[in-house]
């Protein structure tokens, strides 16, 4: 008899209709889902190997944290040497891969690529150098000087992304303060390190980027008040008295005490800041080409 076959046809039609509708539904759901997720990609170009402790690993971990927090994809180009043409190549590579924001995480990159940056008006660039500015190039840094202020003087310290100074200091038995590097156990002369919370730094700047606030201000400078800079754990050679002193200084800074204010002379005897005045951030970042009274340069 033919009845079963026609019954099957009905079944088939029903199945096809249902299948089609389900398919439609999936497409709709998928579409709406895709619309929801804004897939931004963040690029990081950095000088050294991101696995090497110090500047490189600290930055990498910081930006990784921030990207994970915002659910963004992170693309890293490390071991990019300055002034070698590698940085422009890395920018092109990242742009081709859909990066919407690129961090130039070494001081000299910005000067090298300032023209190239203009060719990518839809990509937001951020650099830790204040030397160059552009419509889509924002300077961004931490108020490292606040931590340096806490660290005080009479010891050796350095400001570079390797620990050659620490090695020498250790060799000659001079107490030293490290830079962006916890060296406890490395040397008995290590006191503490000037440290930055790059995770907070990157979180803040990426948030500003996402909120479309990148262009409001020329320079972003995160300070001790939000914990972006600090001194790492002190070595046992730092006394309790010293720690208390540092703590009270830190509290002043958190309360927005301005370090570069009041009467300041340079080491040539010129007044650089009058009584009741404060040196503006822009000047601090772009125009400090003098050394304060008492600084000697050894050559």
């Amino acid at each position: 008899m033919k009845l079963p076959s026609s019954m099957n046809k009905i079944h088939l039609i029903g199945m096809i209709a249902a299948g089609f509708l389900i398919l439609l539904m999936i497409v709709i759901v998928n579409l709406s889902d895709k619309e929801e997720v804004r897939q931004e990609k963040i690029g990081l170009i950095i000088l050294g190997d991101i696995k090497i402790n110090g500047w490189n690993a600290a930055h990498y971990n910081g930006i990784k944290y921030a990207c994970e927090k915002f659910g963004l994809e992170l693309m890293v180009r490390d071991n990019v040497r300055e002034n070698s043409g590698q940085c422009p190549a890395a920018i092109k590579d990242l742009a081709d891969n859909g990066a919407s924001m690129i961090f130039l995480a070494s001081y000299s990159y910005s000067r090298e690529v300032q023209d190239l940056v203009r060719e990518y008006p839809n990509i937001a660039f951020a650099t830790n150098s204040a030397e160059v500015h552009g419509k889509n190039l924002t300077s961004y840094f931490v108020r490292m000087y606040q931590a340096r202020y806490l660290a005080g003087a009479d010891v050796l310290t350095y400001h570079q992304d390797e620990d050659a100074t620490a090695q020498v200091a250790d060799k000659y038995g001079v107490d030293f303060i490290a830079y962006n590097e916890i060296l406890s156990g490395y040397s008995e002369h290590y006191l503490t390190s000037v440290a930055s919370r790059w995770d907070l730094y990157y979180y803040d700047i990426i948030q500003r980027y996402l909120k479309g606030e990148m262009n409001s201000v020329k320079n972003y400078w995160l300070g001790i008040d939000i914990g972006a800079v600090m001194l790492s754990e002190y070595s046992p050679r730092v006394t309790l008295e010293e720690i208390r002193q540092i703590d009270s200084l830190k509290q002043e800074l958190i309360n927005d005490k301005l370090i570069f204010s009041g009467l300041i002379y340079d080491n040539e005897g010129n007044i650089r800041c009058e009584e009741g005045e404060a040196i503006s951030d822009d000047t601090l970042l772009e125009n400090i080409n003098w050394l304060v009274k008492g600084v000697e340069v050894l050559e």
């Binding site: 709709i28 709406s32 996402l210 909120k211």
Partner: protein, 744 residues
Amino acid sequence: MNERIFTLNEKYIKKIIWQFAMLLAVLIAAGLLMGSEVNNLLNATLEKMMAKQLADLSIVAEERFKKELEDLRLVAKYLEMDSGAVSEEKFLQILKSGKDDVSVGLLRLDGTPIRGKVLSKWDFQRLPAAYRGNDVIDYCNGKGLLFAVPVLHGGNVKAVIYRLYDDSLLNELFGLSEYNYNTEVCLLIQERNGRIIIPYKNYGEEERKFFQNETIQQSFTVIRQKLERNKSASVYCDSSMGRFFLFATDLPQTNCTMIGYIEWAVVAGDIFRIYKLVLSVGTLMLIILALVSAYLFVMKTKAEESDALREAKKVAESANNAKSDFLANMSHEIRTPINTIVGMNEMILRESKNPNVIGYAQNSAAASETLLGLINDILDFSKIESGKMELHEENYALKDVIKSLISMMKPRADKKSLKFDLKINPTTENQLFGDSIRIRQIVLNFLSNAVKYTKTGGVELFVESEKIAADKINLKFTVKDTGIGIRSADISRIFNDFERFDAQKNKNIEGTGLGLAITYKLVKMMNGKIDVQSVYGAGSTFTVKIPQKIIGDELIGAFNDNSGREHEEYAPSFIAPDAEILIVDDNEMNLLVAKNLLKATQIKIDTALNGMICLEKIAARRYDLIFLDQMMPGLDGIETLKTARAMTENLSKDAPIIALTANAISGVREKLIGEGFDDYLAKPINAKLMEQMLVKYLPSEKLLKSGKKIPKQKKIPKRKAILSTWKWGLSTARVCRISTRKFC
């Protein structure tokens, strides 16, 4: 059959409805799902749209703030160039523009005023930020909105100038009332911690309640989360207050947020109207499509149904044929053992002198006859059904037919103490041409029914004729009984297949219900007519008229009704003690029956169970005659015959070989004789015919009758029915002749 198809149809329709209901349910479910999906998608899209619009609106607010800052910056610029006390005072006055609600001042790094109003450290928390060179827009809790810019001296900041607007001025200066078009959009500015700074114009108790609604607050929490990574955000909110889009955007470089809401219908109303229009049109189209396809489907179904009907008819027909074939075969199979019973009974009746034993054998014979009758009915019916029924017309004597009827019916009537009256017109023609066996069957059926359904009274049989042509009469039998009768409503149905009336009442009456149907069909075949008269409860009269040819002048005359159940002693028509014959059959029972039937002739009988044994025996011995079964396993009859004829070492080479066959369909005889048989004899063996065959083919010197030789007769018509001498053999022979194509 019609009923069956009707049920099928109904079931079919039910299924169709069920399927369509399912389809519809799926469609509705899909529609609902799609509707909610579209709803969500649309709301999500609108949320984005609203967020973007708000981001644009926020620029307006920002611009106003910037304008404030520009005023201050301009003053700051002048003061950078000329910082005399007089000009400071003058510019501050300009900024204040004489309003009591506006505070202005020039502040030192420690917060003390150089000029203007003192401002608490807590009201101006971001003074250090200003001293770092930044502009400040902040809301000062409980005071108002503060704008401040640094006054530079080279790269350094020497003072900070500020202007503070009191809360009371904010709505007028910064309110977004012009964007609250048609009071549909409600926009306001608040501190990021949620405190409303600049409400819209008619912000009142109700609005406060609105923002305090739990669902609304939850939605704003969601917005806050979205603002973590977005410039602006909007959320669709279905609250107890109604459906709204809520939105917010942070104002950069300030501690302010712009928030607002709009009724869902204002934004989405038109879009949803379009969507609903599309949906309803789509639904309408879908329904039309469904109806069209339903219509097409029904049409298709109808076409398929008639296909199905044709198919079903074909199937039913072939099933019917199979049934008929099956019945034919079964009847044959049953008939074979009955044949043995009948044969053995015949032997008992011949040989026993004990009246008791004879009585038993007669009962047994009667039962066998009934059984055979039933089987014959079934067989006849199946033959009629499959269109294989044929009439076998020949010359016969009406007297013999009537005798046979009497001999069969009288004992039955006697047994029920019914009167059995016979009224035969003596001028009825006796020598007729026709199928006497079928005629006898017809009348027998009427008589049997009459006896069956009559409890008291009697049965009468009238036999007469009506001349319809010079050589043709209508032979007329009338059977009248005083039985239960038939309801007038049932009379038209009595000739239907399997019909039995008053089933409850007649449950003790045996029969297949086929008798009258067969009778009716037989009469039709003979161009006869049946007439039934009946009074329910009083009796029935069946009249049948069958046209028959007259072949002789002899009349039936006065009928001597002396046949009965008396046992006639059998005597063989000849004896042949010197004759020697061989019977070959693979069925031992058949051999036994044949041997016994010929016992009285004193012929020496040898038997063989198959062709090979037969060949061995004829080679070694001379037989006067050989009966050879046609169908045997191994060597069959024809093969055995051919081998025997070809054999050189064959002592029985000139012995006639007669085929025994159950295959009695027309043309078989010719075929067998063509193959080389001398003659053929139908199985089961009719003793009389067998005796006649022997008389014909045995050497005449070996045939004796009471010691004398009997003269050779003319060839006897093979199929002539011998009614009186071996009454039970008749129907058996008949059955055999008309069936058994396959299974013998």
